[in-house]
C-alpha cells in the first residue's frame, strides 16, 4: 500500500487539516513508513477471530430517557471564539 500526493491530499481533506506542500512531502514518507510497518499484522492469522472493540465487558446500564442540563447557555458560549445573541457564530454557509 503506498501513499502518494493525491492520497495525502484526500486524507487531509477528510481529516479537515490544512497542510502545506512541505508538510505534504514529509507526510508521504512518514505515512508510508508507518503503514509499511503496521503491515506486518497481515501475517497474523485472524480467521474466525472476533474483533475486540473494547475490553469492557460489563453490561451498560440504560438510563431514563430524560434530558438533563447542568449548565447555563452563557457558560457554554464563554469558551467560543465568537458568539452573538446566545448563538455560535460561523462564516456564512448559504449563498
Amino acid at each position: 500500500m503506498s501513499i502518494d500526493n493525491s492520497t495525502v491530499k484526500k486524507v487531509a481533506k477528510l481529516a479537515r487539516i490544512e497542510i502545506n506542500e512541505e508538510e505534504e512531502t514529509t507526510l508521504i514518507t512518514e505515512l508510508n513508513n508507518i503503514l509499511g510497518w503496521v503491515d506486518e499484522l497481515k501475517q497474523v492469522n485472524t480467521d474466525s477471530v472476533e474483533p475486540m472493540l473494547s475490553v469492557f465487558n460489563e453490561s451498560m446500564q440504560m438510563r431514563e430517557d430524560k434530558a438533563e442540563s447542568n449548565f447555563e447557555n452563557s457558560q457554554i458560549l464563554d469558551n467560543s471564539p465568537e458568539s452573538n445573541s446566545g448563538f455560535f457564530v460561523v462564516p456564512k454557509v448559504v449563498e
Binding site: 487539516i17 507526510l27 485472524t46 475490553v55 469492557f56
Partner: protein, 481 residues
Amino acid sequence: MNDFENLSISSAIEGLANKNFTSLELTEFFIKKIEKNKDLNCFITSTFDKAIEMAKISDQKIKENETRPLEGIPIGMKDLFCTNGVRTTAGSKILENFIPFYESTVSNNLWDSGAIMLGKTNMDEFAMGSANTTSFFGNVKNPLGLKVNKELVPGGSSGGSASAVSSGLCLGSTGSDTGGSIRQPASFCGLVGLKPTYGRCSRFGMIAFASSLDQAGPITKTVEDSALMLQAMVSFDKRDSTSSRQSIPDFSDFKKLSIKGKRIGIPKEYMIDGLNSDIKKIWDSGISWFKREGAEILEISLPHTKSALPTYYIIAPAEASANLARYDGIRYGFRHNADDLNDLYQKTRGFGFGKEVKRRLMIGTYVLSAGYYDAYYLKALKVRKLISQDFEDAFQKCDLILTPTTPNVAFAIGEKQTNPIEMYLNDVLTVPASLAGLPAISVPSGFNSEKLPIGLQLIGKPFDEISVLAAGAVIEESRGF
C-alpha cells in the same frame, strides 16, 4: 524549618496528623520550589492562590479532626483533566485558552479527599508522545539529567507530572496512560507509576485520546503512596459508560498480601532485540528477589507480543481521529479566521494541532477510510483480541507478570526524533497491557552504569491492583536503595 525534601504522601499525612507542620507550610514550600525550578517546565498553569485557599481549609479540617484521606497533600494535576475555572490545554495550542466549567471525576474525587492542587502539569500534546517533546508549551526536562550533565527527557506523555514528583515540586501527581504514558515516564524519572484496570477511574472530564484505552492513574514516590492516591481517584461514575461497577477494595490491603507461593510469569517474548543490557540485568535481579520471597517463577509465552505495537498504532490513531473531530474552531478553543466554513475547519486544525497530532490524525483517518477499514482497523481489532487472549491464557498459569517497563533508560532531548517509529518503540513493553486493559505498575528497581533509573513492570489480572501493588512493594524492599 521542617525538612520537606524527602517527604512521601504517607509521611506527610503522618506529619500533618501529628501537627509537626501545617498544610499551609507544606503548600508554601512547594510553591517556592516550583518557582525556583521553572526551567524544568513541569507546569503549564500554576494555581497557587487556589492551593493556599485549599491548604487553609485542610488545616481547619485537621484542627477539627475531620481529616479526609489526602487532607492537605499538595499534588500536580495533569493538564488533561478538566478543572472547573482553571485553564485546561492538553498541551495543545488548540485549547490554549480553554477554561472548563466543570470538573473531571478523577480530579473532583481527589479534591473531595482533601488533596491540594498546585497546578496543571505539562504533557505531550493530547497525550501523544513518549518524551514530552510534543507539547505546545515546550519540552519538559528530567531532573535526573543533572546527574549526567545532559538534558534528558522525562518520558511521556505524563512528563510534567513525573518530572514534578521526581524533582520534589509536589508529593504526587496524576497521569493518564493510553499506551504507557504513566509507566514510561515513571520509569524514566525513578518513580512508581500505576495504570489501573480499564474502567477503574472514570474518564468523565478527561480529555479523550483513545477512549477504549485511556485510563487515569497516579505517579508517586512509593508504592504505598500509589495505593493512597489510587484509592482517592477511583469511583463508579454514571457519566462514563465504561466506568466499572466492580467493588472497590481497600488498596492498602496490599500490605497484608504475601507474595509467597504466588506464581510470577516471565514472558519470553519481552526479551526483545535492543533491550538494554543493564535493564536485562535488573530484570534478572527482580526474578531473584521474588524467588527469595517464596514466589514461584515460571516462563510463560505471550505469542502475539510482537504485534501489539502495530495494533496500537492503528487503534489509537483511529480513535483519536474520531475524538479530536470536536476541535472545529467554533464551540471552544483556537479559531483561525477564514472565508468559508470548510476553510475555517481546515485552517483551525492545520494551525491549531502540532506535527505529531496531525500525523496520527492522518493515520487514523486513513485506516478508517473506505477501502482500508477492513485491511487495517478491523484487522487490528482482531489482533487485539488475540493479544488479550494471550494474557487470559497466561493468567491460567500465573498470578502476575514481571517485565521491564521500557527497552531503554531516559534519553537526551532531541534523540529518537529522526523518524516517528523510533519514538513509538519506547512503548513496546507497556502497550500490550493497555490493549488488554490490565492493571500494571512500574517500580524503580535499579540503575544503569550512569546511575539513571530502571523500572520493572508488573502486570496483573483484571481488577487485581492489590497483587500488583503487593509485588511492587517486594521490589521496593528488595532493591537495596
